[in-house]
């Protein structure tokens, strides 16, 4: 996803934006985090409870809680929600 395709300020009022857990720019799949964060698998784990549902935001370049919100939210497809165990699309 290139930055140019992001609608600027999709949620000008951040408070109304959905959680990062449902954002297409947010990746919290355990196996991809273990690949993206060197050493995580050595004495830690992408599958552990302490990590909760945190993930990497490719827009902000930050490691964020799945409960965060920002103005650049874009919904992701339901298929990609499978790793966000606490969220479901109804």
């Amino acid at each position: 996803m290139s930055a140019g395709r992001i609608p600027p300020m999709a949620f000008p009022d951040v408070a109304t934006a959905p959680r990062c857990a449902a954002c297409r720019h947010f990746d919290n799949a355990p196996e991809s985090l273990e690949g993206a964060i060197p050493g995580l698998k050595v004495m830690g784990s992408g599958y552990g409870a302490a990590r909760a549902e945190d993930g990497l935001c490719e827009i902000r370049g930050r490691y964020l809680s799945a409960d965060c919100r920002c103005a650049d939210f874009e919904p992701r497809s339901p298929a990609r929600l499978r790793y966000t165990q606490s969220v479901k699309v109804i």
């Binding site: 999709a10 050493g39 004495m43 552990g48 370049g61 919100r69 103005a71 606490s86």
Partner: protein
């Protein structure tokens, strides 16, 4: 905008049972308590799980070892089938390919047998061939001199094995001991954790580090190593490069201390309980600390001048690390999240941390550890000391301890096999100095509290 807004309403939070099968912490509980339940049922029916929980015995010559392994080949095969079956169910639920996991786990299992057997050689202590250290050294050698195929690395699940082992460890630890020693462990760990975090954070800030990086480093040194760093990185919204930097430094020092803390403790002839408490206070990761504590426990009875029984090192370590430090990660995350949101520079991201953060990040396997302890304590309650020694220990406690030792063996080997120094993030000088300042405070303060302030307490634990 309208369509996006509608997606806001279409997404809802769903608490519930899925969490119970989505995290390895829960699977560690199901597997650990499942094995314990099987052991208890067999014990109650007058039998024992001991046949399955085979472990190498002492040997003097290679032909002796060969004969011993051949005689028990069926038991080793059955034990592999047991571990492979229950671990496969878990990894499948976690989304890890079972077809890759199984051959990888077979590799881990076979090498673990060899390392375990080497530790049973009657000259092993003379040559310092402690199984955790051998496993780590061999794993490091393989990982850093060869490029293992990705599929072969699927079974190197350090944290998963250690969590299963800790749940099983609860089965050998009287609950009364947890109640007796827990508060002291919490007090000692709190002093050291706060001092370590404060040192790393303040030094980091003085060196010009981003506050979020300083906090991520601090949690790695003060709370629970890699898990602490990754939890706090998420809680404070750290930059994506912050967690890898902290993790690199945690692993670097953790590996140094796996070797250094047992050797220093040995040179000082610390009692096993005292050394375990020090290691629990000053090591950074659960797996690394258990490797160090088990190594030191193995010295008991083999190295002159070291008092206390072997399990005291692991028991004191576990109380200090798990009860004293690990379980507080959610509180650290909540507090630092609030501080980051209200006091630190804005990032354009809104965080909404609440009290639920404490449970979400709670290392759930600790629940299994406590339940396992309660179960075996309740069973032991019906026996006098002689009956406990004659019946409960050989038919229940020892086999569960054997299974625990296997889980730890898989873990120790996996630490080395996953540690490829070339792959780690380059931390840079300033993060290194900040973290190392915390390491110095941590080690000295942990040593003083374990060997002076609470020395009598931790010594008594090993009697």
């Amino acid at each position: 905008m309208a369509s996006t807004s509608s997606s806001v309403a279409s997404i809802q939070q769903s608490q519930g049972w899925r969490e119970l099968f989505a995290k390895e912490d829960w699977w560690a509980i199901w597997i650990g308590l499942g094995l314990l339940a099987a052991a208890v049922i067999l014990f109650a029916s007058g039998s024992s799980i001991g046949w399955l929980a085979v472990t190498p015995g002492k040997w003097h010559t290679l032909p002796e070892l060969g004969h011993q392994l051949a005689a028990n080949a069926g038991r080793y095969a059955a034990l592999f089938v047991l571990w492979a079956a229950i671990l496969s169910v878990a990894v499948a639920a976690l989304g890890i390919p079972v077809a890759q996991f199984l051959p990888s786990f077979l590799f881990v299992y076979l090498v673990s047998i060899l390392i375990y057997a080497l530790g049973q050689w009657d000259r092993a202590h003379y040559y310092n061939l402690e199984p955790p250290l051998v496993a780590l050294a061999l794993g490091l050698l393989i990982a850093n001199t060869t490029r293992l195929p990705a599929w072969l690395q699927t079974g190197f699940r350090v944290e998963f094995y250690i969590k299963i082992g800790i749940v099983l460890l609860g089965g050998g630890l009287p609950f009364t001991l947890i109640l007796w020693a827990g508060p002291v462990a919490v007090a000692q760990a709190a002093i050291v954790s706060l001092a370590t975090f404060g040192t790393i954070f303040v030094v980091g800030k003085r060196l010009g580090l981003d506050r979020r990086l300083a906090a991520t480093l601090g949690a790695g040194g003060a709370v629970c190593g890699v898990s602490g760093s990754i939890a706090i990185a998420g809680a404070v919204g750290a930059k994506k490069e912050h967690a890898p930097i902290a993790i690199s430094l945690v692993i670097l020092w953790a590996i140094v201390f796996i070797f250094a803390l047992p050797l220093i403790s040995r040179a000082l002839h610390l009692a096993t309980g005292v050394a375990g408490a020090w290691i629990g206070t000053s090591e950074f990761a659960d797996a690394a600390g258990l490797a160090a504590a088990q190594t030191y426990g193995d010295y008991a009875g083999h190295v002159s001048g070291i008092t206390g029984h072997a399990d005291a090192a692991i028991n004191a370590y576990t109380l200090m690390k798990v009860i004293g430090r690990d379980i507080w990660i959610g509180i650290w995350a909540l507090v630092l999240s609030i501080v980051a949101t209200t006091r630190w520079e804005a990032t354009g991201v809104e965080s909404h941390a609440g009290a639920g953060e404490i449970w979400r990040r709670f290392p759930k396997f600790v629940v299994g550890f406590l339940i396992a302890s309660l179960v075996t304590t309740a069973i032991s309650h019906g026996y006098d000391y002689a009956g406990y020694k004659a019946s409960v220990v050989p038919k229940l406690v020892d086999p569960v301890t054997g299974l625990r030792t296997w889980a730890f063996a898989f873990c120790f080997l996996s630490i080395g096999l996953t540690t490829r120094f070339a792959d780690f993030a380059k931390a840079g000088a300033r993060p290194f100095y900040a973290f190392t300042a915390g390491v110095v405070v941590n080690v000295i303060l942990g040593f003083i509290l374990s060997t002076q302030v609470f020395a009598n307490f931790w010594t008594a634990l090993g009697q």
